[in-house]
């Protein structure tokens, strides 16, 4: 299990005015008091806008960066004291086409990186064949990477990230710039790694559908602080965004109208009626999903539902509201604690 407690990272930037001007030291808090947990087999999302602190968090957890304060451990190994041990059991896969040698073939790339993990030579070839099979690159295994498509390079990145059979895998925007079909294929790979190979996965992405589809739990990070946590659906509902119900019925009696007003009053819902030539449209917007209650009123009054549309809160909207602000969220950038909250279902 990966446990991170109160991780902070402060970068010190030296700035000089002109060539011979005095140096000034500027501190930037990239990550501020981040705590998170990842269990084996879980896919955890770390979402946030650019510069929120996602990559810095991943680099700290992979022992590439030393936290300024805080601690983390993976399977009981102290990540601050034993960075080399941590590096044996984690790996990072980043999006894009870097991090691999373009003039080498896929097999040669994997041979090189596997050697750095001191994989025994007798196991190396079998392991590389298995990885190439997993990412569907076996046929192109002996072709220089420079001839690969973007998707193939990204699949090779995944294989590279698995050469040491890591217990925990950090995916930093792994589907960046990929077309929908390849991205879908990669998501399947990621799910397979968590479900079948029991790997703990931390995923950062800007594609919200990806997070909704894959993540068991999400941490929302902004300006280095964790500002919300929860399952994708919990987060979507937690920002006090409304569920909108649009229903069409043949006619509207005053009794039905009254009943609808009553539930709208109880749930502080916004309600609109629109009479059309052939039907009547009713629109209800509330924080709770009132579909059941509305359907009950209509059916008990013998009104058939001609059309029903439910627009539920989306994670994307919730994230925009969390990251860019909204009336319903108290924002206090200087103090993480006062602005963070935990989503509850």
């Amino acid at each position: 299990m990966l446990i991170a407690n109160n991780l902070c990272k402060v970068y010190q930037l030296k700035e000089r005015k002109g060539l011979f001007g005095p140096k000034t030291l500027k501190e930037i808090m990239a990550v501020n008091d981040v705590s998170l947990e990842i269990k084996p087999g879980q896919i955890i999302g770390l979402l946030g806008i650019n510069g929120a602190g996602k990559t810095t968090t991943i680099k700290m957890l992979s022992a590439l960066l030393e936290p300024t304060s805080g601690s983390f451990s993976i399977n009981g190994i102290d990540g601050i004291r034993y960075p080399q041990e941590i590096k044996r059991i984690v790996n990072v896969i980043t999006g894009g086409e870097r991090n691999i040698y373009w003039r080498l073939t896929a097999r040669e790339n994997l041979e090189y990186f596997a050697s750095l993990y001191n994989l025994p030579r007798h196991k190396l070839n079998d392991s590389i064949d298995e990885l190439l099979e997993l990412v569907d690159l076996k046929e192109a295994a002996d072709m220089p990477v420079e001839r690969y498509s973007k998707g193939m390079k990204q699949r090779l990145q995944i294989a590279r990230g698995l050469v040491n059979d890591p217990k925990f895998l950090f995916l930093d925007e792994p589907t960046l710039g990929l077309d929908v079909a390849i991205a879908k294929e990669l998501r399947n790979h990621v799910r397979h790694l968590a479900e079948k190979r029991n790997k703990g996965i931390l995923l950062t992405t800007h594609y919200i559908t990806e997070a909704e589809e894959l993540c068991d739990w999400i941490y929302v990070i902004d300006k280095g602080c964790i500002i919300a946590t929860g399952t994708p659906s919990e987060l979507a509902y937690s920002t006090k965004m409304n569920t909108n119900i649009l229903v069409s019925i043949p006619e509207l009696t005053s009794g039905v109208k009254k009943e609808i007003y009553e539930i709208a009053k109880v749930h502080q819902a916004k309600i609109e009626f629109q009479e059309n030539t052939t039907d009547v449209s009713v629109s209800i917007s509330a924080q709770e999903n009132l579909t059941g209650q509305l359907a009950h009123i209509l059916t008990s009054n013998g009104l058939p539902i001609l059309h029903l549309k439910i627009i539920e809160p989306r994670l994307e909207d919730a994230l925009i509201q969390l990251s860019y602000g909204g009336d319903s969220i108290e924002r206090n950038i200087s103090n993480c604690e006062s602005r963070s909250y935990k989503a509850t279902s």
């Binding site: 970068y11 010190q12 810095t56 680099k59 992979s62 022992a63 590439l64 960066l65 030393e66 960075p83 080399q84 041990e85 590096k87 044996r88 790996n91 990072v92 980043t94 870097r98 991090n99 691999i100 040698y101 373009w102 003039r103 080498l104 040669e108 041979e111 090189y112 990186f113 050697s115 750095l116 993990y117 001191n118 030579r121 590279r160 040491n164």
Partner: protein, 269 residues
Amino acid sequence: MKEIFQIVRAEVIKQHRNSFHSYGVYFTLLIWPIVVFFNAYYSYKPFNLSQGPWNTFASQEDIIMFLITGFLGYISFKSLLQSAFYMGHERINGTLETIFLTPANRIAIIYGRAFGALIENIWMFSVFCVFVTVWIRRIPVESLIYIPISFIVLIVSAAVWGGLMNVIFLFSRDASFLMAVFDEPMILFSGVRMPTFVFPIWAKIISALFPLTYALMIVRPLLIEGSLSASLQGIYKLLISLLLIVSLTLWLLKKAEKNARKNGNFVFY
């Protein structure tokens, strides 16, 4: 030890696959040093070589041997400076950070990289040098053993130098100025083209900073005079020099990784 050997081997193979993919590369590796060598030789040719420092040499063949050993040493050291310079590509490609993401022994990576570049860069010119050496000197059978000994001295000292260069380039993305700092001064002060004993004191002090100076102090007596005893003085100096360089390399390596873990600068380019 097995772990270190595996990493060095992987690094050498990667260097070969990543940098040497056409016969044209090998061709230039042969042509360029030969042109530089002949350039130096024919620069001296018009002058009266029985005067000045050159009168210590018995013949024209000795001068050729002096220059060719000097250039073999210089090419070895320079190629490692160039190889270290290409560390910048690893930064840009993101592979430098990916290497440091692994728990691989850093010293093995640094020296594997140096060793790989060295072998690739000098083997063709080395063959040429051996050919010239045997051709002009008609080396007696009992002295043939000095040829591999000389190569070992040059390869070990150049690899140690290369390790230091790699670490310096690892430390800073702005280390390319070292090309200017080390390249021309090395060819001048290490005695590649002229013997160091003709230098004034201040120049001798600078020449003492380059391990190539001591490597040539060993190799030249072996190949020109066939004298092992004359090269002994150089052995001690070279060993001390290499020991200091290895210590500095290890210290800088530790500092470079610590610095990178603090600032995340392996991705800056």
